[in-house]
């Protein structure tokens, strides 16, 4: 066992380093926000890239506007679909960019370029159930003002955006009894279940039809235009001129109705965004492109490998750091308290917040802010507390008589630790690692938010498409993996926990 450890460590290092080593020659990457329309538009861009002979990474679904914008600026992605309204109101809020030229000029300062509008305007809309609209005679957003007892539920992004709820509230003087922020895909379900009555929607969202929503007229013209465009790194014009030309050809190719139809095919049919995108590219560009959709088994196999990668690397790193940290925590007063306190603070940070926060820092220090790396770092950080704490408790609970016997024998501190204390603490240390591993299998689903793959991917897509089948495609294997991990560790106990201690328990 002792001989194998350095190899394992080396293996871990290589695995962590491999995404960095694989950077050249760099294929191009298209990013998407985690909703159908953005994913479909991104898939179209990916296919257009491939059609121009460029090596393309699979489309990466990422959390929100800020994550994508940062990833684009840092070069982790090269293209992503965006909306002019978002650029004005969110990316350059307060700079009052009046027209396309102003936006282009401002983007150029960041090394980013923009195509002409693709055609459709996907603005925000406020919707209520049609039955409720008829009952209360709601036609415009202003009509909501006289019904203060309604519960509002908005997507998290809408809750925060400058052009979202914060300013909508002022424009219309709305003051609802209760307002909740939630994952946008869940808002429709909450609406159907009558948990909320008012929600935000995108005007090309097929859910408006599926959930039978009445869109309330924006009678005070609050929402700006959201013309869809592609943002891309300006350097592509030199390095990949054909690809950029293709992207520019997209202008005017998608009307409101066409986009809605594409969205509907994905969300209400059972085609993936990639398949619908390929169909569109074939028809609109008369280029023969195809996508490998892969069977269920091969998809699960791939997500399983991705998921295992996230869990295993982060767990090994956490063991390598956590157990020694636990020893320090058990043996020292002040440093021990600092270590434990820091690990506890990390534990209280919500997963998404941690990812975003790390993303901001990683970009500054030139580390990947999306993909597997930040997820592994986040899982690693979350794993530390249970491992450190169990190692500490395990060491502290060794009977004083045994610790003194080891000391009185004349063993030095490192021999005491290696020969006596760590073996005696092994059952608790292993229990900590087991807990961590099982929790990590669940937490690794965060990977779906920043394009790290794994079971989080089908879960997020399923959530967005309102597809239970897709959600289960991630959730069921995740449950099995958690179970398998637990069983594996129970078997491992035989090898890690000294036989004498197992006899003691019997």
């Amino acid at each position: 066992m002792r001989e194998r450890l350095p190899i394992l460590q080396l293996g871990c290092l290589l695995l962590i380093a491999s995404p960095l080593l694989a950077k050249e020659p760099p294929p191009l990457a298209v990013g998407a926000k985690a909703f159908t329309e953005s994913v479909t538009l991104a898939e179209i861009a990916t296919l257009l890239g491939k059609a121009s002979g460029v090596e393309m990474k699979p489309t990466t679904e990422l959390g929100g506007t800020r994550v994508l914008w940062s990833a684009l600026k840092s070069g982790e992605i090269d293209v992503y679909p965006e909306y002019t309204g978002t650029i004005r109101e969110e990316l350059f809020r307060g700079e009052s960019l009046s027209d396309f030229d102003a936006i282009r000029k401002r983007l150029a300062e960041e090394g980013i370029s923009m195509t002409d509008p693709l055609g459709f305007n996907n603005t925000y809309a406020i919707g209520v159930k049609r039955s409720l609209a008829e009952k209360l005679n709601l036609k415009t957003i202003s009509d909501l003002k006289s019904h203060a007892n309604l519960t509002y539920g908005f997507g998290n992004e809408f809750m925060d955006r400058a052009d979202g709820w914060p300013s909508l509230k002022t424009t219309y003087g709305l003051n609802p009894a209760e307002i909740r922020g939630m994952e946008h895909a869940l808002a429709y379900r909450a609406l159907a279940a009558d948990e909320i009555q008012v929600t935000d929607a995108y005007s090309t969202d097929p859910n408006i039809r599926q959930f039978n929503l009445q869109i309330l007229q924006d009678d005070r013209f609050h929402f700006p235009r959201y013309d869809a465009i592609y943002l891309y790194r300006t350097e592509l014009e030199q390095s990949h001129p054909q690809f950029v030309a293709r992207l520019k050809e997209m202008s005017g190719k998608l009307s409101d109705e066409q986009m809605l139809a594409l969205n509907q095919e994905v969300e209400l049919g059972d085609k993936t965004s990639a398949v619908v995108a390929a169909q569109f590219v074939r028809e609109a560009f008369r280029i023969n492109v195809s996508v490998e959709s892969g069977g269920l088994i091969s998809r699960i196999w791939r997500t399983t490998l991705d998921h295992l990668f996230l869990v295993i690397i982060s767990l090994f790193a956490a063991i390598l750091i956590g157990v020694p940290a636990g020893v320090i925590a058990a043996k020292t007063k002040l440093p021990g308290q600092i270590i434990l306190g820091a690990a506890e603070i990390v534990q209280t940070i919500p997963g998404l917040a941690l990812l975003v926060f790390m993303g901001v820092i990683f970009i500054r220090i030139d580390l990947p802010s999306i993909g597997a790396f930040p997820v592994i770092v986040a899982l690693f950080l979350y794993s530390l507390l249970p491992i450190i704490r169990n190692a500490m408790v395990g060491l502290n609970e060794i009977p004083a008589s045994l610790q003194e016997s080891a000391t009185a024998l004349g063993l030095n501190w490192s021999a005491r630790l290696r020969l006596v204390e760590l073996p005696l603490a092994a059952p608790l240390i292993l229990a900590g690692i087991k807990t961590t591993a099982v929790i990590n299998v669940g937490y690794a689903a965060l990977g779906g938010l920043i394009g790290a793959g794994g079971y989080g991917q089908p879960i997020m897509t399923g959530l967005r498409l309102n597809s239970e089948r897709l959600m289960l495609e991630g959730a069921i294997p995740a449950a099995f993996m958690a179970l398998a991990v637990k069983l594996l560790f129970e078997k491992t106990e035989r090898f890690v926990v000294p036989k004498g201690l197992r006899l003691q328990e019997e």
């Binding site: 008589s401 045994l402 003194e404 016997s405 080891a406 000391t407 009185a408 024998l409 004349g410 063993l411 030095n412 021999a415 020969l419 006596v420 073996p423 005696l424 092994a426 000294p498 036989k499 004498g500 201690l501 006899l503 003691q504």
Partner: protein
């Protein structure tokens, strides 16, 4: 061999050892006896550096104990406690040979020593592969003694080694220990609260009370020339059922 000069020890506000000066004769068995809390175990723990004195000095082989020589000194002292202090995760063999193999002894030398000691403490070799939980209390103490003796130390410190044993097993082990101590000629310091054991094993007995040594002498001296009423009381507190019976019958 072992000398304590003006040593005191307190835990918090409580002074558990008043200034004490004591020297242990080489090759003799000295017994520290007294009621619980009298400071006898504290004295023993000071000698092997498990605790440090507040004042005064502990000397081993004419050298004061310090952080730098503590491990070396411990290799020359065998230490054994009430329940044996055997490591539950290691076999009897590993418990006994742990320090020697850590210090890099050759396998052959370890095996030779192991079998010498098995013979000395009257244990069978098939015990070596068992774990401490799989053997009896008496066997555990013999194993602990093997461990304490493995490096052939100059001094043996025993802290109530037979406190947890049945009377017959204890009596047998006491007899064997006396033989072993005599044959090895080691400096032995034994802590006990059993005056019978002290009389049987001890060449010199130190009676302690409330952190002070009241009297030092042979058992005969303690009985015939007690220097403190407590010494008389302590000796008389030991019940002898046979004597009691004879007294009642006469």
């Amino acid at each position: 061999m072992l000398k304590l000069t003006g040593v005191t020890k307190s835990f918090g506000d409580k002074l558990v050892l008043h200034p004490t000066t004591i020297e242990f004769e080489q090759g003799k068995t000295s017994v520290l006896i007294g009621t619980s809390g009298c400071g006898k175990s504290t004295l023993l723990r000071l000698m092997i550096g498990l605790i440090a004195p507040n004042t005064g000095e502990v000397e081993f082989d004419n050298t004061p104990l310090s952080k730098d020589n503590l491990e070396q000194v411990r290799h020359r002292i065998g230490y054994m406690i009430q329940d044996g202090g055997l490591f539950p995760h290691l076999t009897v063999r590993r418990n006994v040979t742990l320090l020697a193999s850590h210090l890099g002894w050759e396998r052959e030398k370890v095996e030779t020593r192991l079998h010498e000691l098995l013979e000395l403490v009257h244990l069978e070799a098939d015990l070596l592969e068992k774990y401490p939980t799989q053997i009896s209390g008496g066997q555990r103490q013999r194993v602990a003694l093997m461990r304490a003796l493995f490096l052939d130390p100059d001094v043996l410190l025993l802290d109530e080694p037979m406190g947890a044993l049945d009377p017959i097993i204890r009596s047998n082990l006491q007899a064997e220990l006396r033989e072993i101590f005599r044959s090895l000629g080691k400096t032995v310091i034994l802590v006990t609260h059993d005056i019978g054991e002290a009389a049987f094993l001890g060449d010199v007995i130190h009676v302690l009370q409330a952190g002070r040594i009241l009297q030092t002498g042979t058992f005969t001296e303690l009985v015939h020339q007690p220097q403190d009423p407590f010494v008389v009381e302590f000796i008389n507190a030991q019940r002898s059922p046979v004597e009691d019976l004879q007294r009642r019958e006469s």
